[in-house]
Amino acid sequence: MGRSTLEGRFRVIDVSPDEVAEVVRELFEDGCYYATGMGVDERPLNGRFAVYHAINCPKRGVYVILRLTAPENRPSVPSITPVLRGAEWAEREAHDMVGVTFENHPNLERLILPEDWPDGVYPLRKDFPYNRKMAGTEGTAGVRGERHDEATMSVPLGPYHPLLHEPEYFELYVREDRIVGADYRGFHVHRGMEKLAESRMTLNQIPFLAERICGICGCTHSAAYCQAVEEAAGVEVPERALYIRSLMLEVERIHSHLLWFGVACHLLGFDSGFMHFWRAREYVMDIAELITGNRKTYGINLVGGVRRDLSGEKIQKTLKLLELAEGESREVIDNVVGMKELIARMEGVGVLRRKDAREIGVVGPVARASGIDTDVRRDHPYAAYGDLDFKVPVYRGCDVLSRFLVRVDETFESFSLVRQILENLPDGEIINEEYSLPYMEFGLGSTEAPRGEDVHMVLTGGENQVYRWHPRAPTYNNLPAVPLMLEGEDVADAPIIIASIDPCFSCTDHVSIVDAGSGRVLWRGPLLEGVERLRR
């Protein structure tokens, strides 16, 4: 039996409403950022509602969980958004889903529930049955888009994502082809996965639901969920299982980044680059199929370990495929980086300043391209990362090019990581199924997904179930930064700017939509199509 790598990953602190703002401010000044937050209906236990704010302190290698509670008859806590704007969405989500009010929140509008959802009905409260269907009400029109004058046009970019056929809606405010402002409206496909998991699924069924949050980086979600439960229940995971987890997470990162390079080339009008990247990526898909039995949705993680072992023969085959994938990727990337016309389209475009990036709490390659040195694999080692050597690339250009280059460096770090794992794979068991599930124990699991930090919070429910499960995909933290990146740019650059965060809109909505396997999900066409002049 191995060890738990997750020791001391987080600390839950009960804070009083009076001191929370001060605590948050101090944490932010200490270099921490807002990771995620969830509302919990704890009335069956103590008659109160609770809000858990998870704050990532990379320097100290710990997540600080600030827990606020409010009585049933007055479910209201102070908002921390005025102090730390990264909390804005999480607080709005808790307001929508659990019905907790955040005092002094600057914009406590609906975020997730549709406009015609009836007032005063909160789907994540425990007295709301998971299978209840609501009749829509008349609803209120969306309150957004205030920045108009005679000279400004509103360009809708949606309701489908121009690259990935994912539902989203950007409204660009444009003056003479230059973007002067942008708004985002998402959550069109929120499907209530949390409710489903809490009501109807058992502990070891949820990894498969979690994996379907994303069609590109699903393994990272099932790993984060399993880690959260393992943490809550104190499960020792065998070392070999931890290595296999890391292996699949890195395979996933390589295929995800190669996919993104292809999409980026396509958006920049370089379709043969797109095909070259996806050709190289095919070897990585073969590795996944060989090891897990499928190209995507690896289905490898369970609480306590992994489901499939790796034979010596498979290791040899994997190493051969890896060599092909790395060689081909290197050749294509070197040539693409040498193309001045592509670089010119990315350099200085879509700037996200470091200060804004910090306040919003962006994660992953987006943060690392804005000079923020953060990586969950290094700062909060999980799976086998504590034993492995890798560099965390950081660029300071704050633009699309930096995001591109961060991913280039990361891809080759991942090739090296896969090799290290295969060479040092420890012997032993691959799963520990001897554990018991405590009641109402908190657990947090986080992973560095290809798109950035992925956080899952769990409250165990005993009886082989979870009481509360809150997954947070990296795009949730990165999306609020996109309107800032768009300001002042050409309309023609909007698609590559939006794409530069490698967005997963549906993951943010907690549902799976992306089709990673198909090459025909890409959009091409005049952006101005559908342009509509505001009548005002």
Partner: protein, 169 residues
Amino acid sequence: MGRIKLMGLAVSIGKVTERYPFAPVEVPDDYRGKPVIDPGICTGCGACASACPPQAIQVKEEGEFRVVHLFLGRCIFCGRCQDVCPEGAIRLTTEFELATPNHDDLHQFVRLRMVRCVRCGRPFDTYRHLVRSLREVPFIEGERLLLCPECRAKAPLDWLEGGGDGNEG
């Protein structure tokens, strides 16, 4: 310069698109394809149904029969059924071409005759599962297995001397 080199690369590599569906595509032996239940082995215990994340496998009782119903339209090909099946009766195959104009092709039904409770007469377990259970419990407790769970709970102690608390079988 990169552009020209990549063009040369494309020419030297040639066509990479596979001939599929005009030529077969190979998958590994342990590929997670269509699950198939061996009706000659399945005991109808329902372990697969309780593990199945999307509830693609459901176990129902229809009169004298217990029916294990696998619906591929809901299946996510995770293979948890195969993991938990104590008999090795359900396996994932390498078959992945499941598109069909006939809805019936997506269903597999395994019908297993049930045994009646010796006391109340209600069908309560499949013959096959009962035989399997009888093999695994001591003979004296085995007799108790002929009772349905309700009658077993109510059974007078003299039915089973020294049987202790009931084995659920």
